[in-house]
């Protein structure tokens, strides 16, 4: 057999590795900022670009897509070449992949603070960036598949199955969730409305966790753990079962983000049961990771790589058990909208993704630079302070979650809420927010120490740009292998593997989404629910742009504690004109779904002052101040385009309304401005009807009004 000589491209691995480190530092620093903003609102700096609602998406996008994303590419580009005994398909595509991805990150870092956002969590980026993401992802896919096709290894190792599933599913998720109608370069509306938008969004959101934070990292685990431990993988059979079960079941679980909402019951129940069934497939990965270390536990003590990976795998096991438990409706009723969820995701993010990335970097750097790790002591320090940081982060957040949930649900004997003022339930947990910030700081210190350690390691060694390797060429086989199992067969058929994964992941999504879109009874309409006025639409866009949905939900769940506090529970029919939906996923502030209803309605001037200086009317509030809303004007030149877009999306404005919509804008704005002018001017404010604050007030005062009208009419 002829042995071929070739080389591995280490340069691209180093580039992605460096990007991982850089964006990790940036993304986590932004995380620290938002964490402390909740303790010290002054850290919003009174500037629009640094206010919580805009910066929080920056943090999540940076750590998910920039830190972990580059981590995925670094690990995949390193392991793929070696597992296939081939250099990457095209160095050019590798470079396009790298620079394209960094460009996307930079554009995210610019647009998000500018308030350019779609509001859909982990998919906030506007449509031009969405297109760029799709293109770059395809470039990655071509490079991945090109390499697979020119491989010198007949069968694909389990890590590569996970890479293939990741590629195909992320592509599907991203494209389907990003269906949006642009009205300008930086503004679009989601194709879907209300309940449907929510379902698509959380099908995406949950599976972003599954196929961006989990499957690629499982693939990395399957490469780096056995390599670092020099032990065989525990069970090939287990890896087959848990791989297919995981990707099949995961896709169904999205609705568990929407339990007790206006989503149809059957879809919620599917979310519950498929989440519970996910425990075993998830733990299959954990078992295969941990038991691979059988007989090598002594190595864990001495290897920074393994230490980090063991904690990472353990954190993975913990959060994949906690996730299904949180999907049980009675647990979810307690945890949803609280900091429990924040704790849960950070055990996954800091523990699983963070620590696995660190372990991988500690593995890669000495290899890439052909030397030894600069300091084992520093790595150990990083390990311990990082672990401590996770604990300091998670425990206070669990505590805060329980506390707040309990306070929300507490009733007096006379049947009234014990804490009717939402603010009380917030100020109670601010100390927990402070501890969380400290936990994050500890974790961050560890990362900085790692960066120094890696830089010194790189300095001490010399970079191996192209690593020489040799392997026999792949021999053609004519008839397949004798007594081959079906899985051995598919392992040498990458295209079939791709198609099979695609089919497996499509099933759940199709079964959940198609009926929700096509069967009318799933979303009963309500006659009194009417489209927003054009001024309210402008206000809604202000709400989206400021990221209000990061802290305020718009979904009253059918619980006594919520209907007492906010009014009637939310109905599916209320959201039919909501492009996009704005249900939110966290209640750092109170729910706003009924903000304009007679039960909760506050004077216009209250909203005005509250936005300008929240603590002047609500002492102790941690809401950022929004003084710029009093100065910035909404853009009436876009009114027509917005109305047209809504008509295209099926919102029943009268034909030709777009041409005259601005008259209504002026009329409604003047009414609001006049209503508060006298009392506000007495206090030295200058009220002008063309400001964003007026539009926002119009929107807030509309919330929950329609359904109430319907009931009055019935009576």
């Amino acid at each position: 057999m002829q042995v071929e000589k070739f080389s591995y491209d280490n340069n691209i691995v180093r580039m992605f590795g460096n990007a991982t480190i850089l964006w990790g530092l940036v993304g986590m620093l932004v995380g620290l900022l938002v964490a402390f903003q909740l303790v010290f609102p002054a850290l919003n700096f009174g500037i629009e670009y640094t206010s919580f609602g805009r910066v929080r998406p920056l943090h999540t996008n940076a750590v998910i897509f920039a830190f972990v994303g580059n981590g995925i590419f670094a690990g995949v580009y390193y392991s793929l070449q070696r597992l296939l005994k081939a250099r990457m398909f095209s160095d050019l595509l590798s470079k396009i992949n790298f620079w394209g991805w960094q460009l996307i990150i930079v554009s995210a870092a610019i647009t998000l603070p500018l308030g350019i956002t779609t509001s859909k969590e982990y998919a906030e980026l506007e449509w031009p960036i969405d297109i760029a993401i799709a293109l770059i992802w395809v470039v990655f896919g071509i490079n991945l598949f090109g390499t697979i096709l020119k491989r010198r290894e007949r069968h694909l190792y389990v890590a590569i199955w996970f890479y293939i599933a990741t590629f195909v599913t992320v592509a599907v998720l991203h494209i389907v969730n990003s269906f949006e109608l642009p009205i300008s370069l930086f503004k679009s509306y989601s194709w879907y409305a209300g309940v449907q938008d929510a379902l698509v969004q959380w099908w995406y959101g949950h599976n972003a966790v599954a196929f961006f934070l989990t499957t690629p990292y499982l693939g990395l685990m399957y490469y780096f753990v056995p390599k670092a431990a020099n032990r065989p993988v525990f069970s090939y059979r287990l890896s087959i079962i848990h791989f297919w079960a995981l990707i099949f079941l995961y896709i169904w679980a999205g609705p568990h983000h929407l339990l007790y909402t206006a989503l149809p019951d059957w879809a919620q129940s599917l979310g519950v049961v498929f989440s519970v069934m996910l425990i075993a497939p998830s733990w299959g990965g954990m078992i295969n990771g941990l038991l691979t270390l059988r007989g090598a536990w002594d190595k864990v003590r001495d290897s920074a790589v393994l230490k980090f990976m063991v904690v990472a795998i353990t954190a993975y096991g913990m959060s994949t058990f906690e996730g299904p438990m949180l999907s049980l409706k009675n647990v979810n009723a307690i945890a949803h909208f609280t900091d429990w969820i924040v704790a849960h995701v950070h055990v996954g993010a800091l523990g699983w993704n963070g620590f696995l990335t660190f372990g991988m970097l500690y593995f890669l750097w000495p290899k890439l630079f052909n030397t030894k790790l600069h300091s084992m002591k520093m790595a150990n320090f990083h390990f311990w302070i990082g672990t401590l940081g996770i604990l300091f982060y998670a425990i206070p957040m669990y505590w805060a979650g329980f506390t707040q949930s309990q306070m929300w649900n507490d009733f007096t004997n006379e049947g009234f809420l014990q804490y009717p003022n939402f603010l009380e339930t917030v100020t109670q947990i601010i100390p927990m927010y402070a501890y969380r910030g400290i936990g994050g700081l500890l974790y961050y210190i560890g990362v900085v120490v790692m960066v120094v350690n890696l830089i010194l390691t790189a300095r001490a060694g010399s970079f191996v740009k192209d690593e020489e390797a040799e392997a026999p060429a792949l021999q053609p086989i004519s008839k397949g292998y004798k007594d081959e199992s079906w899985h051995r067969w598919i392992e040498r058929k990458p295209t079939q593997m791709l198609i099979a994964s695609l089919v497996v992941i499509l099933i759940g999504g199709v079964i959940e989404m198609v009926p929700t879109f096509l069967v009318k009874s799933n979303i009963p309409t309500i006659a009194s629910v009417k489209p927003y006025t054009p001024l309210e639409l402008h206000g809604r866009d202000v709400y989206i742009s400021e990221g209000c949905n990061n802290c305020h939900s718009q979904m009253v769940r059918p619980f006594r504690s919520e209907t007492e506090r906010y009014g009637e529970y939310s109905k599916a029919g209320e959201f039919v004109y909501d492009h996009p939906f704005l249900w939110g996923s966290k209640r750092t502030g109170p729910d706003l779904a009924r903000e304009g209803s007679s039960k909760l309605r506050k004077p216009n001037s209250w909203h005005y002052k509250h936005m300008y200086a929240p603590r002047s009317v609500s002492p102790g509030s941690i809401m950022p101040e929004y003084p710029w809303l009093l100065d910035k004007t909404y853009d009436t030149t876009t009114t027509a385009a917005k109305i047209e877009a809504m008509i295209t999306l099926g919102v029943p404005y009268e034909e030709g309304y777009s041409a005259i919509a601005n008259q209504d804008v002026v009329k409604q704005a003047n009414e609001i401005a006049e209503d508060m002018r006298a009392s506000l001017e007495e206090e030295g404010f200058e009220v002008s009807a063309d400001r964003e604050i007026i539009a926002l007030i119009a929107y807030l005062q509309r919330l929950g009004v329609d359904i109430e009208k319907g009931q009055t009419a019935k009576k």
Binding site: A245, M277, L291, N330, P603
Partner: protein, 374 residues
């Protein structure tokens, strides 16, 4: 021990399935109280058996001949631990039984599963105790203790990890390697498999109960029963509490404790519109003599209770009890004449208490802007 762990695990998991449904008693067709009594009786019976078995084991293992045998020593320890673990269950069961005799109370779903778990747990303990007892008796008789063939088989089947020891792993090493990574072909860990099966069964039962047989309450039904339960609770509380305060009979509370409570509620809920000191803001000034909707405790109480939705004053009756509103109203009345800084200009009319108005002065209508200029 492994077997015990597994069974215990399953027994502990059982209450989980109570998430899946309701109305066990009605489903089984047995009256609530009968089922409850049956189950508790059964638990007591099992406990008695456990105690008897434990005692006999204790008796045998104390005899000297046995003490030399390490294995049985271990067994005795295990049994002692199990019995100790069982004790809390005993007290629990007794508590439950005690409550039954006091009041005819209904079998709740959670209770059913709890009792069922206890029964299964006790049954497992009895099984293990019995087996240990047999072993001990045989040892006592001087028979050598050899694990029977079939027992060994059962044990093998219940092996929770079912993996090949490291020393023998060459036998299951796959014939391929990737970049030096090799793979073993260990069996799926049985505990993992069973867990997977259990979750699948859970899923099926869940869907059947909620969406096919309709035994489980979906969210709106669940909400309605929550509201009904709360209403009943409230009604019984109110019946005990006696007469309620309304705008017709409310009185001014002058005691410091009430005023203080009123102030706390005011600061937390009212100050956002009426100012920390009552100076006014989005809402009117509460410290002057002018009232838009009438002064005096009755009017203020009424305004708080029903609100003035058109002007942005919320109806607070759904958020505060009558006595809380009485305290806030009383506190608000204490603000009169405090003249805080930045006071909002007066709005409404001068309000004079009725008793005084009969005296001499009449209610005077005043233009608020005019007063502001005074």
């Amino acid at each position: 021990m492994k077997r015990l762990t597994k069974f215990t695990f399953i027994a502990l998991l059982l209450p989980l399935s109570s998430f899946a449904g309701n109305n066990i008693a009605s489903a089984t067709g047995i009256a609530d109280s009968t089922l409850l009594a049956l189950m508790i009786g059964f638990i007591l019976l099992l406990l008695a058996i456990v105690k008897a078995l434990a005692k006999s084991i204790e008796g045998i293992s104390k005899s000297e001949s046995i003490l030399t045998l390490k294995s049985s020593d271990k067994a005795a320890k295990v049994i002692a631990t199990i019995v100790m673990l069982g004790m809390p269950a005993l007290t629990f069961a007794q508590n439950t039984a005690g409550r039954v005799s006091e009041s005819p109370f209904k079998m709740s779903d959670d209770l059913f599963w709890l009792l069922l778990s206890i029964i299964i747990f006790l049954a497992i303990i009895i099984g293990i105790l019995f087996r240990s007892l047999m072993v001990l008796i045989r040892l006592e008789r001087g028979e050598s203790f050899v694990e029977e063939e079939d027992t060994a088989d059962v044990f093998e089947k219940l092996n929770l990890t079912d993996n090949v020891p490291i020393e023998e792993e060459a036998t299951i090493m796959m014939d391929h390697e990737y970049d030096g990574i090799r793979e073993l072909d260990n069996n799926l860990p049985p505990w993992w498999k069973y867990m997977f099966y259990a979750t699948i069964i859970f899923g099926i039962v869940y869907i059947v109960r909620y969406h096919i047989t309709g035994q489980g309450q979906l969210q709106i039904a669940e909400y309605q029963s929550e509201i009904a339960a709360a209403a009943a609770e409230k009604a019984s509380f109110m019946a005990e509490a006696g007469e309620t305060i309304s705008e017709d009979n409310v009185t001014y509370l002058a005691d410091a404790a009430s005023i203080e409570k009123g102030e706390a509620i005011y600061k937390g809920n009212c100050a956002t519109c009426h100012g920390q000191l009552g100076e006014g803001g989005a809402g009117p000034n509460l410290t002057d003599e002018y009232w838009i909707h009438g002064g005096g405790v009755k009017n203020v109480f009424k305004t708080i209770k029903y609100g003035v939705p058109a002007k942005g004053m919320i109806a607070w009756q759904s958020q505060f009890s009558a006595s809380q509103m009485q305290k806030v109203a009383s506190y608000v009345l204490t603000l009169k004449g405090t003249n805080p800084p930045n006071g909002k200009a007066p709005q409404g009319e001068i309000y004079v208490e009725e008793e005084i108005s009969t005296d001499s002065t009449e209610t005077v209508k005043v233009d608020s802007t005019a007063t502001a200029n005074l």
